[in-house]
Every structure is written in structure tokens, then in C-alpha cells.
Subunit: 255 residues, 2 copies
Amino acid sequence: MSIVLIGSGNVATHIGVTFAQAGEKVAQVYSRNLAHAHLLADRIGAEPIADWNKISTVEKLYLISVTDASIHKVVEQMPMVNGVVAHTAASVPMEVLSRFPHRGVFYPFQTFTKEKELSFKEVPLLLEANSKATLELLHSLAVKISDKVQQSDESARKRLHIAAVFACNFVNHLYTLADELLMENGLSFEILEPLIRETTEKALSLKPKSAQTGPASRLDFNVMNLHLDNLPDGSLEHQLYQLLSQSIMQKVKSG
Amino acid sequence: MSIVLIGSGNVATHIGVTFAQAGEKVAQVYSRNLAHAHLLADRIGAEPIADWNKISTVEKLYLISVTDASIHKVVEQMPMVNGVVAHTAASVPMEVLSRFPHRGVFYPFQTFTKEKELSFKEVPLLLEANSKATLELLHSLAVKISDKVQQSDESARKRLHIAAVFACNFVNHLYTLADELLMENGLSFEILEPLIRETTEKALSLKPKSAQTGPASRLDFNVMNLHLDNLPDGSLEHQLYQLLSQSIMQKVKSG
């Protein structure tokens, strides 16, 4: 018995390729778009399908890795199966899968981009299941691809996801804003590289709160005002500079 | 002729230690607080002083590395010297040093914490001077400690500093908020480490704009609202989540 992947996006691609590399058979890749199913399936020796009637119903794991909003539709349309059905979404309750007797969540806590390879061994895999046996099956597969497998219920997963939005999505957006500020002045993003690397290393080795530097952390209103004068009034950059500085100062004051 | 360091904080310490390691003699370290001057001077074989009358007036470089607000006071009190006087501040004009015939700026574009060593060779050093000869002196010293020396006028320096506040100070603060969100739920910051490392690597290798992921970038209002419901109404975290998501969506819409 093997694995059926439902979805062919970033997460499905990374998981599918990693399972195949670990010697775990992926039987089929389902996508509404057959060409998309092909792209992933052909890489990992699986059968590409775009028709629910073609799904093999006797496999051990059906991993649903589609956008959060599409999970409901997959659950409605997918044939009944006796294997474990799990989704990979942070913010969707396991009970969205209540149609299926064996269900769970298989959430990789990482940011995925198709073009960028990464070492899956380092990716925390957060598991939830509706029974001990189902958890054991998910666990036995998870440890084949990750060294960081742990159990996590819906509420912890949601909290982790919010933290990840701050530490990853919002951080990346600040890099984008910095890049644009430099581009407007003919400067290149590369000059930031040593600073970005050091900021990351410092936060990870010292804990971020004790690594905080900059005008807001030293309550330097002269510099903050000088910077605000240089960001267009009313722009989101101006508002973000103010709000982020205010938030840093609040932490300084509260110790 | 050697170097006199004025100040004994994070930046002065990193520069002083690096000059000493590069075989460049630091003659004196001035601080208002003699004990502070000692801490740095003793590490690098310099004379600690806290009295302006004791400053040697025949050295080649006087490097003022104090808080932005204290530079004026140093300029007022410091005896006249014939060597080059430069400060290390991003947001202070060179002309604050107009009392001195040979003046400049020697700005290391990096975040410094006393407890954290770093490789100074990678730190961009941005130089400005009021004459070609002064620029040459600053340049000859800068290349001894950094591989990334470049000229930069006040306006470029200011722009770089604003970009650095976004890409370093604000980023670190987002890590702090993520850490607190996890702590409130008994979760540890370490679980974020692979995600933080990957976010950094992706932004540096792909350019941040094309590396953007997360609910705002896919206009997933369900997830954004779920997250907002979980952040206390009116809190700075709630406001930041909204404003940062809005800013990400603006970039998505503008392409």
C-alpha cells in the first residue's frame, strides 16, 4: 500500500519528492488540472490523475495538500476510502475530514517555494489524528522524512501558524520594503546581506528580545523623526515605521 | 601616528578590537566613564582616558563612536586636533564636525552587540570626507578591516539606514513578537529556527518580493480573519497583523 497525493502545489511537490527520495512509494498524484498532476507525478514515478473515478481506494494514506479554501471541495468530491486521510493545512480543523473514518493532520512547519530546494529533515512535522492507530501510521511515515516530528493539536497549530506569519511572511515583506527603499535610490539589496544574516544569527543565538537594536530600542526620537520625514506621509511604509517603532518602545518600557 | 577612539559602546568596541587585530595601533580610548574606557582599552593595549585634557592631539584619526545625541557634546568639548575627525553615525551629517579642518564619516553598516562576535571583513564600510586627502586616509584604514568599503554621501547613508531599520530592527522585533506568541502557549522559539533560516536564505537567493508566501500574499481572508480573531482586539500585535497584511496585499495588487 502506498500514498496518494491530492494537490500538486508547493507543499505537495516538496512532500512528494521527499517521500520518493526516502523510498516511500507515491502511487498517484491528483490535480484538477492533469498537466499539473503530470508535472509532479512524472518526477516521482506516480500516476497522474484528474478524475476522482480513477483514484485508487485501497492505499494507506491520502494526503490533501491544496489551498485551505479548496479542502472542503476535495472532501465532498473524493470517493470514500478506508485508508488515512490527512491534510497539510495549519489553520483548518481536522474535523473538516469527518466523512472519513481515519483522519488526521500532517502539517509541515516551513515556507515552501517550488524553485527552492530545502532539507526536509529539518522541517518540523506537526501531527494530529483521530485515533492512536492513525497517529501511529502518520508518525511512521513522518519520521522517514523529518527528524522533527511532534504531536500538535489544532490550537497549538493555529498559534504556531500566527507566529510563523510574523517570523516568516511579515519578515520577508519587510525585506521587500527595504529592497524597494534601496532601489528608489539606485542602491542594491546585496548591501543588506551581511546585516540580514547577522540579524538572523543574533536572534537565533541570543533570543530576539535581547538582540534588539536601532533607534526605537534606544528611544532615539531624533532619528525616528528624521526617518519618518523621509517616508511619504500617509504611505503604508510611514504607518509601518510608526507602528513597529511604537511596538518596540512598548517592549523597552515593559522591560 | 595612530587612532583615538571616542566612545566605548558596541560600535566602538567592535571597531577597536578589529583595528587592533589588523595590527593598527589604537593609542587611546576616551569615555566619560573611566571604567568603561578601561574595559575596551585594556583589551586592545590602548590608554583609557576620561579627561579631554589627556587626549593626544597629534594622532591621525579620531573616531567618534557615541550615541547620535552625544556627538554635539563631544564636538564642543574635544580639543582642536589636526588629524582627521570622523564619526560612525548613519543619520548625522558630516558637517556636525565643521569645527575640524579634516572631517569625515566612517559608517559600518551592520548591527552590533557587544557579546556577539562577527566577521568585520563582511561589514560594508561607508565613507564620506570633506577632501580627497581625508577620504584617502579613511579609505586606507577602512580596507584594513573590511572587504566592502565604499563612498556614500549623507542622503544615501540616510536611505540605507532606513532600509536597515526595516530589514534588521523591525525584523528582529517581529521575531520577538513571534517568540512571545509561542511562549504564551508553552511553545519554544526553537521550533521557528528552520523557518527563520529558510526565510532568510530564500529572500537572499530569490529576491524577497518573489519569495513572499502566506495568507496575505494569496489574499486568503479566511485565514487572516482567523488569525486576527486570535490576537487581542486593539493590541499592537493585532494592528501590526492588519497593517503588514494590507501592505503585502498592496504589493500583490500592484504586481
